[in-house]
């Protein structure tokens, strides 16, 4: 009994070492996922973010058709990288709507003319209130919302070229 107990500290030390090196080998994931997946989009009404496009309200997302809701900003560099993918998704017939976070109308207009406009409507979220209501913590983020206004899926960070078919399938597969 005494003899076996002698090895206990060494065994504890080895187990601790294994656990810590496992923790170090995994990259730290700092993304905060929305806990609103599966819930309905909270009620909101946003004014148009730029002249020429309508604003966005939660009622527009419960009109029977699934949507891709993209949270972006003209001052967000990864959003520029995401623009061609959003264009491809919109060209495939997916209704893409935007929420522009902390943005100015002329800056949004400049962003759209420079990088293309995949959006049917863009709401201006000047104090990030709707972004927070959706459980989003940054730009860009995208939510797949079904025809009843239920949130099905969240993409944190830009949609990359290899993600495009999956996103299109997710929106088209939603009811």
């Amino acid at each position: 009994m005494k003899n076996r107990l002698k090895w206990a500290p060494l065994i504890v030390f080895i187990l601790l070492g294994v656990a810590l090196s496992y923790g170090l080998s995994k990259p730290n994931n700092t993304n905060i996922t929305s806990k609103m997946i599966g819930a309905s989009v909270p009620a909101f009404t946003l004014p148009p973010a730029t002249p020429g496009l309508p604003g966005l309200a939660s009622a527009d997302l419960a009109n029977g058709k699934p949507h891709l809701v993209n949270i972006f900003a003209s001052w967000c560099v990864p959003c520029i990288a995401e623009a061609p993918q959003l264009k491809a998704i919109a060209d495939a017939g997916v209704p893409v709507v935007g929420i522009a976070v902390r943005d100015r109308p002329e800056a949004v207009a400049r962003f759209l003319s420079r990088h293309g406009n995949p959006f049917r409507a863009i709401g201006a979220d000047d104090a990030s209130q709707v972004q927070m209501a959706l459980g989003s913590s940054g730009v860009p983020e995208s939510f797949v919302v079904d025809g009843q206004g239920r949130i099905l899926q969240q993409t944190i960070g830009p949609i990359n070229p290899q993600d495009v078919p999956g996103v299109i399938a997710a929106v088209k597969g939603a009811r």
């Binding site: 905060i32 806990k35 609103m36 902390r102 943005d103 990030s128 927070m132």
Partner: protein, 134 residues
């Protein structure tokens, strides 16, 4: 020239990561009612910033933290209870967002660990005392 360009890049990157809109009105302005402001401040110290993870929204200079402070102050001013505001945020971001996490399946060990260690300590002590007596 190269050095100046490099310096520009260093300065430029953080600037590009922020919008040019001014902070929300209530982000950095105290509420007129000191009692409400105290409530808001207490809650802001318990809410974690989503950008500068590890700072409370009371301490963080991130724009989103400013907007979160504005949200807290607006709702307190409208008469909402701090617990209800915190529950609203936890519903969206999970217990992660609060520095005062609720007791649940993943956090019970935080409260139970001191008791468990005490029990283990008492067992070890009583055994060694008994051995010495013999």
């Amino acid at each position: 020239m190269k050095r100046a360009l490099f310096a520009l890049v260093l300065i430029g990157a953080p600037v590009l990561a922020d919008s040019d809109l001014p902070p929300a009105p209530l982000a950095d302005t105290q509420l007129a009612d000191p009692k409400q402001e105290a409530q808001a401040k207490a809650l802001m110290e318990k809410i974690r910033c989503l950008v500068c993870q590890g700072q409370s929204i009371a301490d963080s200079n991130a724009e989103l933290a400013g907007d979160m402070r504005a949200l807290v102050r607006e709702r307190i001013a409208a008469g909402e209870k701090p617990d209800a505001i915190r529950a609203w945020l936890v519903r969206r971001y999970g217990s992660w967002v609060t520095y005062d996490p609720p007791l649940d399946r993943t956090t019970w060990l935080l409260w139970a660990a001191p008791v468990l260690f005490l029990v283990v300590g008492v067992i070890i002590a009583s055994r060694s005392i008994r051995r010495r007596r013999r």
